[in-house]
Symmetry: C2
Subunit: 351 residues, 2 copies
């Protein structure tokens, strides 16, 4: 037993005390975590029911093993045993998990209770994990991994209690993007009756961001989509005051579409579309002293920074942080309140 997790040593809210090697790194960067079930005073232990492997990670494993499910299962077991966490050594990515809380340290700030069914909203790549059933119920052919074992949540981990009133798959899809509507809400409330453009408005994060913007006091909203078919879906959902069709990679076309729909440039532009090259269009669509929130992982930092400078655009550009306190509850509430958003989600899940 190392001193790191003994009761006499303080635990770290970001899990530094669980890092075995290399010493001094954050859990995400660590080669190996301490996966023991004993919880520190601010930790929570979860009885695992299911892992959702990150899509990039599963694809790498399946390709490497030519679709041999047994080999994929063996490698996942080896990774978890060796690293004390499920982090694909090639892609670096993890995924998330669903389980039931079975011990809560007396100083845990997470507000969880024994028996709560939760989804973790921090990556498996930094979550201590031990598998005890050899993944016997998994055929190695899907990202959805039935599993038994335990996982540890730190003081600053994030987990959401799964709601009783929504199907599990639907709730998980909402939780997957819950940072976007929460940050949109905060940014929109920073303006008085602003105009808001959501690029990629018919997607999961986009549709909830539109709903969040309206609830937060937007004077007028537009959802921009790439095709007429998506425009029709978004119109039926009733989430935006206007719907426009434009290629977000064409700055002049995007800005014209936004201005045409809003009557002026957007005070807040939210980018939810996962294609590269949308930075200049987003900047050009945004009014002076406006804000662009980039949620797309395809965003190029330098394209955004140099684009704004080249356009002499006095806009605030935010890197979309997936964590805002209360984000899970906010997103689930929006889905409950907006039948149009729920229909869009259900349609995507059915695809």
């Amino acid at each position: 037993m190392t001193a790191a997790t003994s009761p006499s040593r303080p635990s770290s809210p970001v899990g530094l005390h669980r890092v075995l090697e290399p010493a001094g790194t954050l859990p995400q960067a660590a080669q190996r975590l301490d996966d023991r079930p004993e919880v520190a005073p601010d930790e929570v232990r979860v009885a695992v029911q299911r892992l959702n492997l990150d899509a990039a990670s599963f694809r790498q494993l399946a390709t490497k093993h030519g679709g041999d499910g047994d080999a994929v299962r063996r490698e996942v077991l080896e990774i978890v045993a060796a690293r004390g966490k499920m982090q694909n050594p090639v892609t670096g990515s993890g995924g998330m998990l669903v389980g039931v809380v079975d011990e809560v340290g007396p100083e845990s700030p997470l507000g969880l209770a024994v028996g709560d069914r939760v989804a973790t909203l921090v990556s498996l790549s930094l979550t201590p994990l031990r598998i005890t059933d050899g993944l016997a119920s998994w055929d190695g052919r899907s990202e959805q991994v039935p599993a038994e074992g335990h996982a540890i949540l730190f003081g600053r981990s994030i987990a959401a209690v799964l709601p009783d009133d929504l199907p599990g798959e639907l709730a998980m899809a909402v939780l997957d993007v819950c940072g976007a509507p929460a940050l949109t809400d905060r940014v929109v409330r920073g303006y008085e009756a602003p105009t808001v453009a959501v690029v990629g408005g018919a997607g999961k994060s986009g549709s909830l961001s539109l709903a969040a913007a309206r609830r937060a006091g937007a004077a007028r909203t537009v959802g921009v989509v790439p095709f007429d078919e998506e425009a029709e879906l978004l119109r039926e959902a009733g989430l935006a005051d206007a719907v426009a069709v434009a290629d977000a990679r064409d700055p002049v076309a995007l800005a014209a579409a936004v201005e045409g729909a809003l009557g002026r440039a957007a005070d807040v532009t939210v980018v939810c579309v996962d294609v590269p090259g949308c930075e200049h269009g987003a900047v050009l669509s945004t009014a002076d002293r406006g804000t662009v929130v980039f949620f797309s992982m395809a965003t190029s930092f330098s394209a955004a920074a140099l684009g704004a400078e080249g356009l002499a655009a006095d806009v605030t550009m935010l890197i979309g942080n997936g964590y805002v306190p209360g984000h899970a509850a906010t997103a689930l509430d929006l889905l409950r309140a907006e039948p149009g958003a729920r229909r869009l989600f259900e349609r995507r899940l059915a695809d």
Copy 2:
């Protein structure tokens, strides 16, 4: 004569009317710009004195031609003649220029007067340019290119009048980084007596950001540098309340250094160090509801977004926009007011 710049057609503040091909793109993305000297009502024409080629562009040209200065000169002339702007077709980058204003359109919002000696703060890659002296005074062996000809500034271009009281090279070095102190000023003023950490505090953008933070009301500032030698320079400059030595790529070490120097986490963290991998450390160094401003072009969008989520960090993350109204004057004023900052700049210019 095309209709694009005829008086009967409105000009675009971002220069769309000067784009010859492909139609509908922004000037930066265009293959060819209209370089004619006649100004639209909101344009300004500058008599060029000197081009400063972007370092990456010059390196590419010099390497391609094996250091043959005549060949480099010929290619620059060919590029400008073919494209109507100096944009290296391989690197995509431009540079900036110095010249004297010789015509101001009646509706120009730039506040320039005929005879002003200016530096352009938008890239040559989007600035209409015609060279008339065959670059006869340039040997093709330096990024500094004496040149005659004209350049066009749009309604939303940015140009700074060069001050009489500072050496040209010093003023240019300050203008090159003037976005950082201006945005730091704005962010710091959004908090009440915040603590501020500047990572890379002894560099050009870092030292001016420290000076800006103090002037904007920071309660306590720390400049973080990688080596003892830089720490000594920054201490002598007197720009920060504390100076700390840490490797910014080590999140735990950086956060410990910042907290040790400030007594708590930073409300505002400004990243000015041009090495990859500083995102997690910056997030970990920043207090809840704090702000991280990333000025380094080495910043990874996804590392920042996923890092903050993984740390459950409720921090606002800004993409450092190089343009803030008044940024040139703010930066030059800071340099005049802070002899310590000026010494740091002069030392770097002498290297």
